[in-house]
Amino acid sequence: MKSRFYLLPLALLAAPAAAHATTYMSVEQAQALMFPGEALKPDPRALTDAQVAAIRKDSGESPLSRELKAWRAADGGWFILDQVVGKHEFITFALALDSAGAVRSVEILDYRESYGGQVREAAWRSQFVGKRHGAALKLGQDVKNISGATLSSKHVADGVRRLLSTYALVLAPSVH
């Protein structure tokens, strides 16, 4: 009798494992939105140990993956797909840079949290437009905190700062 009793809560722990994810936008849809009418050419990179260390030192943030998912636009701009840590799951986002490395736009592709979805609002994302490598992108300073969504807004800002460092250290023409 006892063993059955204690197993019941364990069954509950397994129950929600099949929960579904929410995708607001596919990669193709994000590319079409952020680079309308432009052809994007895949240009993925595998970050070296030295590059990861340099990005960490420059941005204060460690890349979550060594695979840099990047596409090059015909006009010299870049489309970069990446993730940051959300409250419970990863937040997938895309960063569009112009040929000079300034932010054209930020889009949230996946957001799966119970609250904090304001990071998807255009008004909040628009504050990144025009930012370049070297911008502080600190929550509460040059990036507005979203009260009630502090973790998500902090991590998205950190992620954009990390990708601007990645651009400057890995992708920018001056690197080559």
Partner: protein, 319 residues
């Protein structure tokens, strides 16, 4: 046999209640806090967000006899502001104990201290304990400040119980907020209306029906790591100290002290969460009020509000 049936009955109630909640919401499931079963973090609900939560706590085992206590709580929480969360609780309990004190007699667990039971009788009963209100105010955020800080207060009132619990909550995050360290200091002042004991000295208040007063001072520290999306695991450590009366600074009034330690597992999704913590009492307990042999066995205390094992499961839904 009777004990086994009752034990199973508690389990069925617990399991069915939690499973029904889980199955109801598994389709849209995703979740959130709490990361810990016994420790609190500084996270509060955003303004206007609501949450329902069920708690189920098993308290099992003494050095002698049968000791099974189940405590249940149903909670509704609401974010008044992004920093201030308020909650209301209903509290129920169930006890099945027999020959559970060192003298070999049956004695009510502390939560049933206002009931009497024959020394050789089995106590097998449930009760509505009371209702609680709770307010948590986050002073500092662990995401934007060097350390998170929150203040907590929870008054409880029941037919024969009153309690005010105050808590200081600290939180520090690491590794992209996937590692969470929390520390709590809790002071709980309790009043229980006890029946007079005819065997007590007639000149003492124990002889008459009276409000018995006690203070609990608990220190806790816990750590949790989100090892994969939605899942966190960690450890919790508690040091619980009890004092007779309402003054926790009078060492002459301390009655006992115990340590608990154990693992936890947390699933958090978009709407649904479940957290489980299993604690074991560690050696090193003290029983100041009962220095006679038998109260500390194997280094653990078997009196008042203490037992060998605790299992707490919290499940909730955000809307």
């Amino acid at each position: 046999m009777k004990s086994g049936r009752n034990h199973a009955a508690i389990g069925i109630i617990l399991g069915l209640g939690l499973m029904s909640l889980g199955l109801t919401f598994a389709g849209t499931a995703r979740a959130d806090e709490p990361l810990f079963g016994y420790l609190y973090t500084t996270d509060t609900l955003p303004k206007g967000k609501k949450e329902i939560e069920l708690w189920s706590t098993l308290r099992e085992g003494r050095s002698q006899g049968d000791f099974h206590v189940w405590e249940g709580r149903a909670e509704v929480s609401y974010g008044l502001t992004d920093r201030l969360q308020v909650s209301g609780y209903l509290n129920v309990a169930y006890a099945n104990v027999y020959h559970n004190v060192p003298s070999g007699e049956t004695a009510p667990p502390e939560i049933f201290a206002d009931y009497s039971v024959g020394a050789d009788k089995r106590m097998d009963r449930g009760r509505f304990e009371g209702v609680s209100a709770e307010a948590v105010y986050r002073v500092l955020s662990p995401y934007t400040d060097p350390v998170g800080l929150a203040l907590y207060v929870e008054p409880t009132i029941g037919p024969r119980t009153r309690e005010i619990e105050s808590r200081l909550i600290l939180q520090k995050n690491f590794h992209d907020d996937r590692v969470v360290i929390a520390a709590n200091v809790t002071v709980g002042q309790e009043w229980r209306y006890l029946q007079g004991d005819p065997a007590a000295d007639p000149s003492t208040e124990d002889f008459r029906d009276h409000w018995d007063k006690e203070t609990d001072v608990n220190f806790g520290v816990a750590a949790s790591y989100r090892f994969r999306p939605n899942w966190s695991a960690g450890l919790e450590f508690l040091n619980e100290r009890e004092f007779a009366g309402l003054d926790p600074f009078d060492p002459g009034k301390r009655t006992n002290m115990a340590f608990y330690f154990g693992p936890n597992l947390h699933f958090g999704g978009e709407r649904f969460f479940v957290t489980g913590t299993f604690l074991v009492q560690l050696p090193g307990a003290k029983d100041y009020a009962n220095p006679a042999p038998g109260f500390i066995v194997g280094g653990i205390t078997n009196a008042d509000d203490f037992e060998k094992y605790r299992l707490r499961i919290k499940a909730g839904y955000y809307f």
